[in-house]
């Protein structure tokens, strides 16, 4: 019988700790499929975030390093500089990358570190209980913006792709979402392009994935996906923001 669907080699055969309807599992699978397709499992080193996906080092079959909150791009710099022929990626949430780790991502981008960043944007701090993230959109209710995010009081969201694309050291910056099979396929293509940019030595590549957080948003999974399409995507437009030749 012909096998038409199976677990990617790069994805561990373990039960993930995510809530029902969370899109981290899809994002992990896409990264694993890309690693398989590029045949780079044995020379890839992943850097895990702090946050919901903190256990990523147990979910991938490549070498993995757990970094402290926000510092993954610095850790990745250390690895990639001493092992330039390996493939190095970080996997970071919005609090990790756009709040505590803003300096690390901007400077890794400015140095043109030849690494790939998978950036999960679910507009909230999922693991710590749904507080405001730097990506929380205006009006969004969180446990620390109970009346909805008011930019006058709580500041404005940070649009990471738009921020990083003008930086000279970046090679590929794209935003995709994980809300439908079509969007998932586009996301995978973007992740693959990001890894290919690294293999070609072009500089820092980043794919932002708009993700759902049914638990902290207080929505059933399907409604959460609809929310990504109808409310979050208009604020964070999908597409490629930069692609160097």
């Amino acid at each position: 019988m012909k096998v038409v669907f199976s677990r990617p080699r790069a994805l561990s055969d373990v039960t993930m700790a995510y809530c029902q309807g969370c899109t981290h599992g899809i994002a992990h699978r896409l990264v694993a499929e890309v690693i398989d397709e590029l045949g780079i499992l044995e020379r890839t080193i992943g850097i895990c975030p702090v946050g919901c996906s903190v256990f990523l080092y147990q979910y991938m079959e490549c070498d993995m390093i757990e970094a402290s909150h926000g510092r993954a791009p610095a850790v990745a710099t250390g690895v990639k500089r001493v092992l330039p022929d390996r493939v190095v990626f970080t996997y970071q949430g919005d609090g990790d990358l756009a709040a505590i780790g803003t300096a690390e991502i901007i400077h890794a981008a400015a140095r043109g570190e030849n690494i790939t960043v998978v950036f999960i944007n679910n507009t909230t701090y999922g693991m710590t209980g749904g507080q405001m993230a730097p990506t929380t959109i205006p009006g969004q209710e969180t446990t620390t913006t109970p009346g909805g995010r008011d930019p006058i009081k709580a500041g404005n969201p940070i649009k990471v792709c738009e921020l990083l694309a003008p930086i000279e050291g970046t090679a590929y910056i794209a935003r995709a979402s994980l809300t439908s099979p079509a969007n998932v396929m586009k996301a995978k293509k973007a992740i693959k392009t990001a890894f290919e940019m690294q293999l070609a030595g072009k500089g820092l590549s980043l794919v932002e994935l708009l993700s759902s957080c049914p638990t902290q948003w207080g929505m059933p999974p399907l409604e959460a996906l609809k929310h990504v399409d109808e409310v979050i995507t208009p604020y964070y437009p999908l597409g490629e923001f930069k692609r160097v030749n």
């Binding site: 020379r43 890839t44 256990f55 080092y57 079959e61 070498d63 710099t77 001493v82």
Partner: protein, 365 residues
């Protein structure tokens, strides 16, 4: 074959680290250690290694974390306020049991303080500094020669017991020039690192983490780390003694203060005062056993530091009430002079008027 050269302490630590097989340096400028990244930017690429000027001390220590994960001898350097920033990363390095070297060319604090020499980061170096139960294998050079030699010792200990090591020095040692002999080649003892994350070619995946959600798992890791500290305490203690045998009063000091105290000791001896010097070279593991032995043989200790009294606590713990331990310290970046320490010595050795009268009374009875 050796070459004799005149060198600054901060250059010697760079040359020593590269000779010790260090192939990655990540740093950030702060006075009085700026020559370390400056020399590194020149010598490290020449040695085929990696130099990156990071955007912050926080990023620099995390780059060290990454390079250490990859199994490379990696280091960073900074000075007191910068070391405070590195503490988060150092705790993670300790938790993930990663060897590396951190050089602290201490300056006056707290806060921005000044750029004068100080020894007030002792607690931070040997008692943890970051969160969690950990320590750093800490070496305290007192000369440019030792600035060259200690990186090799520190890397060996860091590799053997798998944790961060620190060279705790100060603005005087970092900035002073001395002639030293540089060997043409140092025999390297580079252990295999099967745990390193270098890509899973020909083996299962390696993962490096300091995350252990189940308390029993985290306790097990902590016990492993503590067992390494115990082993290092049995095997890696280094110290130096001067004129100890007949001494009534033993000066205890490290780094440049030990050097100043040696001059005090010579001056005291010229006056017929029986003064010796005990100089810890490793601050962790601390030479507690040796100090206790001296205490039991009836010595009186005077600990001299450029701090409000930090190492003195370890001396008191070591002697465990078996001896009198006095303290003399200067703060704010002031370096004590040999004369000033001698005054303290004389105060302690000169019997008080009360003692003179009491002894006169006893003799007339």
């Amino acid at each position: 074959m050796t070459t004799k050269v005149l060198m600054k302490g901060n250059e010697a630590v760079v040359r020593g680290a590269i000779a010790a097989g260090c192939r990655a340096f990540f740093g950030y400028p702060i006075t009085p250690q700026n020559e370390v990244p400056e020399y590194m930017s020149k010598y490290m690429p020449e040695a085929g290694g990696v130099f990156v000027q990071a955007e912050s001390e926080v990023a620099a220590i995390n780059m060290v974390y990454g390079a250490a994960c990859a199994g490379v001898r990696a280091m960073t350097s900074s000075s007191s306020p910068g070391i405070s920033l590195k503490m988060e990363g150092i705790s993670y390095l300790a938790g993930a049991q990663l060897p590396c070297l951190i050089v602290n060319v201490q300056r006056g604090g707290p806060g921005l303080g000044n750029i004068a020499p100080s020894q007030s980061d002792y607690f931070q170096a040997v008692k943890g500094g970051g969160h969690g139960d950990y320590k750093m294998y800490t070496f305290a050079p007192w000369s440019v020669k030792e600035m060259f030699e200690h990186p090799s010792l520190a890397f060996e200990v860091a590799d053997k017991y798998r944790g961060p090591a620190m060279i705790l020095t100060d603005a005087i040692i970092g900035q002073m020039l001395e002639p030293i002999e540089i060997p043409e080649k140092i025999e390297l003892n580079l252990p295999p690192k099967p745990w390193a994350t270098t890509g899973a070619k020909g083996r299962g995946r390696n993962s490096i983490t300091s995350l252990y959600i189940v308390p029993e798992d985290l306790e097990r890791i902590n016990l492993e780390i503590q067992a390494n500290y115990k082993l290092a305490t049995e095997r890696e203690v280094r110290f130096q003694e001067f004129w100890i045998d007949d001494a009534n009063l033993v000066l205890v000091a490290y780094g440049c203060v030990a050097r100043i105290s040696r001059t005090t000791m010579t001056m005291a001896r010229e006056k017929g005062l029986k003064v010796g010097l005990f100089r810890p070279i490793t601050l962790f593991p601390f030479p507690s056993k040796q100090l206790l032995e001296l205490a039991k043989s009836g010595k009186h200790f005077l600990v001299v530091e450029m701090s409000a009294g930090q190492m003195v606590e370890d001396v008191r713990l070591s002697v465990n009430g078996e001896a009198e331990v006095d303290f003399y310290g200067r703060l704010g970046g002031i370096v004590p002079s040999p004369n000033e320490i001698l005054e303290e010595v004389e105060k302690l050795l000169k019997p008080s008027l009360y003692q003179v009268m009491a002894s006169a009374k006893t003799s007339t009875n």
